[in-house]
Symmetry: C2
Subunit: 302 residues, 2 copies
Amino acid sequence: MELTVLGCNSALPTSYRNPSAQILTVSGRTFLIDCGEGTQFQLRKLHINFMRIDYIFISHIHGDHIFGLLGLISTMSLLNRSTPLEIFADAAYEDLFNRQIAFFCENLTFPIIYHPLAVDKPHVILNIKGVQVQTVPLVHRVPTNGFIFREQAKAPNIRKSAICKYGLSIADIVSIKDGKPYFDSVTGEEVDRSELVIEAEEPKSYAYISDTAYLPSIVEQVKGVSLLYHEATFADDNAELAGKTYHSTAKQAATIARDAGVGKLLIGHYSSRYKETDVLEQEAQSVFQDTTAVYDGYSLVF
Amino acid sequence: MELTVLGCNSALPTSYRNPSAQILTVSGRTFLIDCGEGTQFQLRKLHINFMRIDYIFISHIHGDHIFGLLGLISTMSLLNRSTPLEIFADAAYEDLFNRQIAFFCENLTFPIIYHPLAVDKPHVILNIKGVQVQTVPLVHRVPTNGFIFREQAKAPNIRKSAICKYGLSIADIVSIKDGKPYFDSVTGEEVDRSELVIEAEEPKSYAYISDTAYLPSIVEQVKGVSLLYHEATFADDNAELAGKTYHSTAKQAATIARDAGVGKLLIGHYSSRYKETDVLEQEAQSVFQDTTAVYDGYSLVF
């Protein structure tokens, strides 16, 4: 998987950070997660071909997560996109979205499939070759979903040495890849699996959690993900404000990461009061060491 | 008057220019003309206090002129604006605009007054102390208006020497400021006006013309304006494409400027194919010498 952060600011705009948007590539597919104002310009600046984006996931309908959507769609149409675009967003937005498209994007060159999302419980919303996406209902001022992206487990590679030694047939290979035991046709004994295959890499997973009040109940759902992005709008001295505005502090983000035993934590969605984000990163690291405070243009292969 | 260009690109986004938006200050008032995506970020970057914007003029409903509007309004509300905001835009957009505001900007902290515009003929749409604004109907793929901003004529200043010499009363002064003749109370002869007043500076005017097919009929309306901004999406070698897409070339913009005898011409709204705009500026200057190809952040006091 590869993640690129296009914007990591919260609602009040600054001259030094863009609002929320991320690009995730999984198994050769390109997903856009949230689409704040200016997302299409960030894609241009970071040389990301946005014509490859086939799926867009919108966490909630606050402007800093969605106001770039119409501009991006308009430009895709100006560039004569023909591939369908699938959008996953709040069910309540579907009617207005369709009106906006009808008004602003006459003669759209490609079909849009709108998947209305609920927030009542976690749902698998996409299940395609190589990847599955599930919602994580959050608690914010409007209905909000996080998302977990999971690579599908890959089949192991059969060792060439084993093919020669045991004269494996195609049927044998399919059976071994499928995890079934193999018995030596001469001795009749089961062959140790490590002699037969090189196991594929563990499938990776990415959880995107923005925006939410501190919500320990998501720990179960994000348990063990390879990479967790969790909003950290405030530092600890603004914990009360975080609570009031249904946002999280850096320490709360790190507590989720620690309790869920994730591989690595990224924090973002900073309040405009933090021009420098060191204090947020340090506070999070005091709870969960492997934390990085992201910035616009931050990229990670994992 | 002072003009600042926030963005001067046309519809297809680039990493080096923003879409259309300009700030015009006249008699201490701040007007926003068009509001492409990212306008609020440009205002931040250029340190322009957008809480002072009380009037927004939208030329037409293409995304590169309007997709920044909701973000700007949302932010004004986040910052607890209370002053009413007046928006002048296509009558056809009013219903959708109201739906968008209701959906995205719940609990807006200030009233919005939407002035629906027609394009059937030139209209005076604003007449307030110090400035008058009039529409210039254009010819584009959707209903489009340009705008002319005219400072009101200022009253002359009465010379102190005249007040002493002729013992002018308040009534005399009001009458002279009003342009009426003054007669010496001793000799009974009319006093030469230049002895009585220092005439105020000529009122300035600014015409914003974007987007339009080449439209010589606007020459009468923009005749003699101090400053004309005219779109110049294409260079001369793309004149045919300009015609087909209802845009203008740099030479056509300059022809309007020359025929209208304007004080100075600015060109902008460049196609993304022109990273450098020298060719457009040179072509325009071959027809109208005092032309400048603007850039994002360009500012002029006139």
